[in-house]
Assembly symmetry: C2
Homo-oligomer: 218 residues x 2
């Protein structure tokens, strides 16, 4: 089973690595890190990840995982969406984490489908034609999308259960000791205080460039 993890500049590392550590130990899995070139791809201030293959080379996959990140540049640039148009028809499962769903939408993968994304960017996903859900993990046909960043772990465990059965998926959950005890209860926009929500909306607007959506190819 070939699993293609998509890499692009300014993706969020945890969006990639949550699903990678859940899915890559699966039976007979070959994991591919696919990017525009073989040059290391930046994810945050210090991290650079080395691709194993390129969009030109990898033309099929059984499973596709698209992480989120700063969405506007990668949407406008179009290379990831072009690869998805080519490879999604070959895949049994196409998945995303966080704003990765906006890339699926821009490639036409979410036409008429329900999908989720980071809570602060639901409007962007809706503007690209998807039917936006506020659920943490959404399955619609062969497409599974996860909400923001850490939801990739829940999304991938859901897929592991589908691919390899409940006992294997539970084993992965135990192997990564995923029995969360967050020190705060502030992980959703419904649970966080207004002060915290305002803080994060400001950070997201600053980091992702509110109003830059005019460059997006839908």
């Amino acid at each position: 089973m070939d699993i293609a993890f998509v890499l692009y500049p300014n993706m969020t590392a945890l969006d990639l690595v949550g699903p990678y550590d859940v899915l890559s130990p699966g039976p007979d899995v070959t994991s591919h890190f696919v990017a525009a070139t073989l040059d290391p791809v930046p994810a945050g201030s210090a991290m650079r990840i080395v691709p194993t293959t390129t969009f030109d080379t990898l033309d099929r996959a059984d499973v596709i995982v698209v992480p989120g990140g700063e969405p506007y540049e990668v949407l406008a640039e179009g290379t990831v969406a072009a690869w998805l148009r080519k490879v999604h028809p070959t895949a049994t499962w196409t998945t995303s984490v966080c704003t990765g769903s906006t890339l699926l939408a821009s490639a036409g993968v979410l036409e008429g489908k329900r999908a989720t994304t980071h809570w602060a960017l639901r409007d962007l996903l809706a503007s690209l034609g998807a039917e936006v859900s506020t659920d943490r993990v959404v399955r619609d046909g062969s497409v599974i999308t996860g909400a923001g960043v850490s939801a990739g772990i829940d999304m991938a465990l859901t897929l592991a259960g589908i691919l390899w059965g409940d006992v294997f998926a539970q084993g992965v959950q135990l192997a990564i000791e995923y029995d969360p005890e967050p020190p705060y209860d502030s992980g959703s926009v419904e649970k966080a205080s207004p002060e915290v929500v305002d803080l994060v909306r400001g950070l997201v607007a600053n980091e992702f460039g509110a109003g830059r959506s005019e460059g997006v190819k839908a």
Copy 2:
């Protein structure tokens, strides 16, 4: 504030990336990925991460984060422990995820201290002289340890609250939408079924080489 994330071969990617995505957005943080050389470091079957600096070059840090992974080779090899002996005295906080605590122990950092690790490797940590706790996050003085793999997110949010206050840490939790909804309730050895526990004990013994502890430098 300089945060040193330690890289070594066959570390677990999520142990590194959970704390990285929680701590690196902190105010005035410079994140360093420190390894034996500048060559990309393997983490699992497909991932290679590029270091930003080396053990010889980086001789101080405000915060140290040591991920877990296959523990026996890195313990026997000794380079990470030697670096920890040099840099731990310069740090305000020294932290670990999963079997990263065995590296702290082998460097003498856990002498007389309570600490936690992956549930399947508690005996190894005890054999290295630490007082082993089964808690998910353990703080003893300036040392904070997290349990297996995904516990690094909880450990890092705890540290973020200490470093930058509750509102900032809650903001990070909301930014990564860390409101877990695992599809199973199998994330601890107390909650998983005996069948699942046996499956994972077999995988861990196979992957980490049970009985190879004779090579460990304590």
